[in-house]
Subunit: 119 residues, 2 copies
């Protein structure tokens, strides 16, 4: 059984809860980029982009490296494994629960039909 | 190709970014529960729990129904399909990118070895 880090999940899902931050991750999935590149691409101030990148860094989704005056962003060590595992576990519970409810509905339908045929 | 609803992903990932809200979803995956039950289980005030349930409701992850004085919570229509699909897509990009980097490293190693053997 996977033991989830609640603080880790908090940080990752917070990082993923913003469209720009998800966009940055998709971009870095294709190629590394500087903060300036990212700010331009997402039509944002440098300060605004640095804040978003900071949130992604805290969640381990991005790492940055400053060489000279350029800070380059690349994908971090987190591969979203915990997050994917949590979603999968939840979806399994979900499916089991809906299957249960389906059975209850089927059972009610059968009873209804039997009652109808007895009339 | 899946077309993602950015507002939907924002709402879901925000809802998932809190350990109590994730706990509520897990609980409702096992059985429906009243706000009072949930508040007790998570050692929280009724008002605090109602707020969390409100965030889950907005994301479509929970629905509630008030019968008499009891508000019962159950799983909502969202099955986290978009969220799982988004994570999967990102992980594929990730893997491809890391494979690419591995190849670059291998290539450098080969060159290094060849240079070494020439000396």
């Amino acid at each position: 059984m996977v033991k989830f880090s609640q603080a880790g999940l908090d940080a990752s899902f917070t990082a993923l809860s913003d469209a720009t931050r998800r966009g940055v991750l998709e971009q870095l999935g294709h190629s590394d980029a500087s903060i300036t590149d990212l700010a331009e691409k997402f039509q944002m101030t440098l300060a605004g982009m640095m804040k978003h990148v900071g949130v992604l860094e805290e969640a381990g989704l991005v790492t940055t490296e400053k060489v000279g005056r350029v800070r380059t962003c690349k994908l971090g060590a987190s591969r979203l494994e915990q997050e994917t595992a949590w979603l999968e576990k939840q979806r399994q519970l979900w499916d089991a629960r809906f299957d249960e409810l389906d059975e209850v509905v089927e059972e009610l339908k059968r009873k209804e039909k039997n009652n109808g045929s007895k009339k």
